[in-house]
């Protein structure tokens, strides 16, 4: 069974990869990718089932915070039933998203600004080395250069230092990081493709 999984995974991966380079294989690649999307949809249902099970276990074991798990399960089933009854494009369903999900996520995003400010202060205590000062100094400089100041722009900062930092140093560094990650992505994908790395659970 494990050999079958390995052969299927490697074979499918090879066909999809060849489809990028040999146009004759492009239709096969397209079919396989469509199958993958369908499987991904089925996995979404299983994932929700897993979420419900985890929180149901929390409630039955009366673990700390099980009240929140109850709210989650009730919310999930209510949204599911509501969605089935009126359809996902109904204004009521859209209101659920725009009045509950988006505000909650926006709140977390706002919290993030405070968290990052606090983290920057903590960073000095935790890693008070030269790189930390460079990091914080650059952040402050970029913020000042981007902000609308009450006394107008600081010429050298806005016209020279800010663009130079952004387009030379930051862009160069980001490109270096992206090239490194592209190489990592390539070798990670190839490891799976040659069967040296098997994320599908084969020993």
């Amino acid at each position: 069974m494990q050999i079958v999984a390995l052969v299927l995974a490697v074979g499918t991966g090879m066909l999809i990869l060849v489809g990028y380079f040999v146009p004759a294989f492009a239709p096969v690649q397209s079919v396989l990718l469509r199958w993958a999307i369908i499987l991904s949809g089925a996995a979404a249902v299983l994932g929700v089932f897993n979420l419900v099970l985890v929180h149901a276990n929390k409630i039955s074991a009366r673990e700390k915070g099980s009240g929140y798990s109850g709210v989650l399960i009730i919310g999930l089933f209510a949204t599911f039933v509501f969605g089935l009854a009126i359809g996902p494009s109904h204004p009521g369903m859209r209101l659920l998203i725009s009045a509950v999900v988006i505000p909650v996520e926006s709140t977390l995003m706002a919290l993030l600004a405070v968290t990052l400010l606090y983290a920057s202060v903590r960073l000095l205590r935790r890693r008070g080395n030269a790189m930390t000062w460079v990091f914080i100094g650059t952040t402050v400089l970029m913020l000042v250069a981007s902000a609308t100041l009450p006394f107008g722009e600081i010429g050298a900062l806005t016209n020279f230092l800010h663009p130079w930092l952004q387009h030379v140093l930051a862009m160069g560094g980001a490109r270096g990081i992206l090239i490194g990650m592209a190489l990592g992505t390539l070798t990670t994908g190839l490891r799976v493709l040659v069967g040296a790395d098997r994320p599908y659970g084969v020993k």
Binding site: L17, Y20, F21, V22, P23, L33, A36, I37, L39, S40, A43, A44, V45, L46, G47, V48, N50, L51, L53, V54, E63, G65, Y68, E105, L108, M109, L111, L112, T115, L116, A119, S120, R122, L123, R126, F135, G176, I177, G180, M181, L183, G184, T185, L186, T187, T188, G189, L190, R191, V192, L193, V194, A196, D197, R198, P199, Y200, G201, V202, K203
Partner: protein, 245 residues
Amino acid sequence: MDMLGLGLVVLCGALLLVLPWFKRKGAPRLRPIPALTRLYRAVGLSVEDGTRLLVGLGGESLLAKSGAAALAGLGVLREVTKRTSVGDSPPMAVAGESALALLAQDTLQAGYQSVGAVEYFQPMTGRLAGMTPFSSAAGTMPLMADENVSAAVLAGHFGLESALLADAAERGRVLLVGSTDDPPAQAALYAAAGEVLIGEELFAAPAYLGAGPAHAASLTIQDFLRWMIIIALVSGTALKLFGII
């Protein structure tokens, strides 16, 4: 047909099949990465003091462009599971995408299987935390405080919400090693996390945790390709400078 791309992929694939044979004898020589050294120690300590390790895999689908980061995260999870499966508290994996959560369960089980301890595998230790980045972060944050976690690894695609996870780890006195393939999130993690992996260090993490010769070989290939790119960039700049191209 893009012959250069195809040639590069075939060359790397061939090297990946051949190089592990030369790397089988002895431990690979790897440059020290402080974050991974601390993680390696934390894995051992968690077994000794009976605490749990939490691995966050991010919320990106394997079909998306950041799928490789999730694969690297699964590699980390597998190594962590192998080394902590005999501990009192089994490792836990959380994902922000359903297929990834299922793969996390599968990887946890494979980790237990590989050390002959499959009877200790608990399916609920691989779970879906939420379906969006922020809901996933909100689902993961309480685990840091409630599940006896001593160290957490973020290995996968995380956005800026990773800073919230780092803050939760700090408050729960949990060592957090953060890594993501998203450059702005790397900057946020640099400020917020106890330890951070920058750039391709995320993809090197399984090799540092002892994932075997194939992972060490892929690091050699990455180094080889990196030097090729450096030579190409420097040569191109020099040729342009002297007006040859």
